[in-house]
Each structure stands twice: as C-alpha cells, then as structure tokens.
Symmetry: C2
Subunit: 287 residues, 2 copies
Amino acid sequence: MRLDLKDYLERKRKIVDQALDKYLPKEKDEPKIIHKAMRYSVFAGGKRLRPILSMASFELVGGKGNSILPVACALELIHAYSLIHDDLPCMDDDDLRRGKPTSHKVFGEGMAVLAGDALHALAFEVLLRAKRLDVISEVANAIGTQGMIGGQVADLEAEGEKVSLSQVNFIHTHKTAALIKLSIRAGALLGEASSEELDALSRYGEKIGLAFQITDDILDVVGKEKIIGKKTGKNQNKATYPKIMGLEKSKRIAKKLVEEAKEKLEVFGDNGFILKELADFIVNRAN
Amino acid sequence: MRLDLKDYLERKRKIVDQALDKYLPKEKDEPKIIHKAMRYSVFAGGKRLRPILSMASFELVGGKGNSILPVACALELIHAYSLIHDDLPCMDDDDLRRGKPTSHKVFGEGMAVLAGDALHALAFEVLLRAKRLDVISEVANAIGTQGMIGGQVADLEAEGEKVSLSQVNFIHTHKTAALIKLSIRAGALLGEASSEELDALSRYGEKIGLAFQITDDILDVVGKEKIIGKKTGKNQNKATYPKIMGLEKSKRIAKKLVEEAKEKLEVFGDNGFILKELADFIVNRAN
C-alpha cells in the first residue's frame, strides 16, 4: 500500500488544530494575556507529530471515531508546555522557536512560566474527556521524573560536562522518547489493543523516539536555520549523538533504529504501512 | 464540643507527612537532584492546611478510612509547586520561604522550574490513586486559568499598578481561595456529601479562602519575620486588602468572612465544630 504522506500529515494536522482551537480558552476570555500566551505557543506551527502518532496507532489497532482526539491534543499541550519552559533563560535560553520569538521574549519570563503551567494543567483537563484512568496514569508517569522531566534534569546537569553514550541515551529516551512512546501507547490503549499489539507498538515508539532526537541533533548541525526555525549549532555543549560519534555514524544509527522500529510492526502485516511511513518521515524530515 | 486544635493539627499533619513521604520519590532514586529538590520544598515546614481541610471536610460528611489521603497529598504537592514557581526571580523573587532559602536559591533557577513541574505532574499521579474522574476534573479546573493560575496572572499584571477592590478580590479568590475551596470540595466529594452539604462547604471554602489571603497580607505588614519565615513588607506594591483599606478594616473583614463561613456550617449542627475551629485558626494564626 502506498500513502501520500504529505496529504495524510496535512489532513491529520487540520483535525488536531481544529480540536486544539476548541479545547484552548479563547483569547477574549479573562485573563486574556495568559490565553494569548498559551495560544501563541500552541499555534506556532508545530508538526503535531505526537497527536498524529497517537491517532495512527489508535486507528491501526482498530480504534474508530474521534475518542482519541482529546488524548492526542493533551499530548500536544504537554509538548508545548515543555518547550516553553525549556526555552527559558534559566534552561536552554532560546530566543527563537519555529521561526518565531519564544514565549518569554514576547510575554516576559513570568508569564512564560505561567503559560507553561497553564498548558500542563489544561492537558489533564482535556485528557479527562477520554474518561480513562489508565491513560491519565500513563501520561502522568511519562511526563514525571521517571520520564520527560527526568530527561530534562539529566540534560541540564550534563550541560558543559563530558558525557558518556549511556548518559546521552538516558537523556534522549527520557526527555524526548518518553512522550513519543506515550503517544503511541495512548493511542493503542484507547483503541483497545491486545497486549501483543501494545507491546509491539511500545518498542516501535521507543525506537522512533530515540531516532527523532538523534535526527533533531543532526539537523542542529547540518540543517538550515530558515527551515528549522531556530538557531542551529546551539547544541555544541549539549550531550548529543553527533557530538559523541560524529554525523555520519549518527545518521546510520538513526536509520537503523527506524528499520528496527518498522520490524516491530510485522505483527500488523500490511496494515502497519502508515506507521512505517511515519517512522521514515522522522529521520528524513528537514525540520 | 471542644477541640484541642493544636493537638488535632499536629496529629493530622503527621499523617499527611507520612503519606507525602511515601508518595514522593526517594532522594536516592535517579535523577537524585530533582527528587532532592522536590522533597526540599515539600518538607520545608508547611502547616498542611489544605490537606487537613480536605480531611476534615471528608470526615464531616461521613467519609471513613484513608481514601482521602492521596487527594489530600496531591493538594499539598500542587501548593508546593505553585510556591516554587511563585518565588522565582521572574515572579515574586523571594529568597526566603518558611525560614529557609527558596528552591532556586538552593538548586538554581532551572532546577526550580523543573521541581515545580515535577510536583505538578506527581500531583496528578498521586491523585489517580483515588480513582475518581470527577475529583481529578475539579483539581485540573481549580488550578488552571479559571482558578489558581488565573489569579497568579492577574497578580503579576497588577504589580506596581493602581488596583481596585474588585481586582484584588479577583486575584485573591483565584490565586488563593480556589485551591482552599477545592480542598474542601474534594474532601466532600470523596466523602459522598449530599448536594446540600457540598454547596454549604463550597461557600465555607470560598470565605475562609479569602480570609486566609487577607490574613497573609496583614501578617506581611504586622507579622514577625522570624515567625513567618519570610521577608515581611514585601507586598507593598502588591494588590492587597491592607493596602487598599488599611489594617484595621482588613482585620474586621477577615473576621467577618470567618463568621459567615461558620454560619454556612449550620447544616451540620454540632458536627461542624472542627471546621469552625479551623476557620478561626485561619485568621488568628501568627504565621
């Protein structure tokens, strides 16, 4: 089966954007400034990769209808909150994200902290619409110190230090891959996957999650600022694959991870083609 | 009925502290530094007022056993997260809290942001133990832009500005009273309160919540730094009751609110005596 991936991504992105617009408080609602700040970051041109992965996973295991949408959007709200806090001067100190000034550059640092906090709380509010305690539990766990935040902590601690490959793997699998794996798992859980399917998709999620971060760091070295929309070459004193083993080897590893991820989908036979294309997209993207 | 309030508070505080110790990741678990930072702020000597209010409300409506404990602790984790972020240089810029250096003074700003985020996520993880979607929904709502964060936004915007009494009321009812009212309501919901009871307790919660913040701002003017444990006189350019209407009138209003709160408990007859004492404690405390 062949998929027009560009068309697929565009179609899903529109559905996610419409739902996000519905779930986010309106700019005219008080206190206006925080709602403006929340919408500014959420609608800054993200690819909606995490929601799309959760939807693709949901549909692959036989999920029907729109019950995945609140979960998909909650994942994007969490992603947006983590980026706002990550960009703060006391963290990565980034002025630009997706070609636009970061939240604290536009709204000030205090408001950026609150906008992140508000998106974090809103994510759980939106998530509740799915009425699934098991999914909420997976989310809370994946974004805590055993997941996303744990990775951010290790990343902050590694700054300027000499780090080993195992430390880099810890950072990547926690900071980035945890949320991507969660997206895949949440879709599978909501779609009532069998335990065999859930397991296969979890392994797939881990591998594309790591491949995603390696590709991000490769793009930081070779990518075009205009296309990526943020300052490149910023991760020179960060713990990355390109820094530890060079560009070419990093590219090979990312591609190998994607191949391994795709193999995990064999249990789905031909039906796995969308997630296979999404895996390829993760390493072949230009931004 | 008479209550030895000091003994009651101490007894409940110990139960809450033991449960918090159980729910919080250990300092020896990786990444150690964030768990240390989380525990540092949670065990910095708080009164555990919000958990205690939720437990008292739970017991008043007939709740039995320990099922309230995860909810009670989640409220304290949320309170701790909000204080860490509130104390940041880009927010209230406080160096001292409860007589100890604030989180960012000890762990750095980046780690303080993450410690707040981690407590926020952990609160939902702990809350899930109660297995009550309605309670999680109340929590997410009360701490979002229509509740606590909305109040923090208005507070940040009001800094240095001339503000009206209605603006001050907006800030207080959102920033402080929302979480206190939530504590009372969460206890009532978990204890299976009737709608009449829930309504009475909600009104009680709103009133003591406002009285609590007015008293905080009075203590900022007249309190002893050594007892309060933070720098006093800091709220001079903040929107407060003492600033708008003077100390004496503010004290009278706080006392009146407490009397009104106690009246709301009439529906419980004699059984309401613990929440009545807790209401008195809120305006009579020295820190």
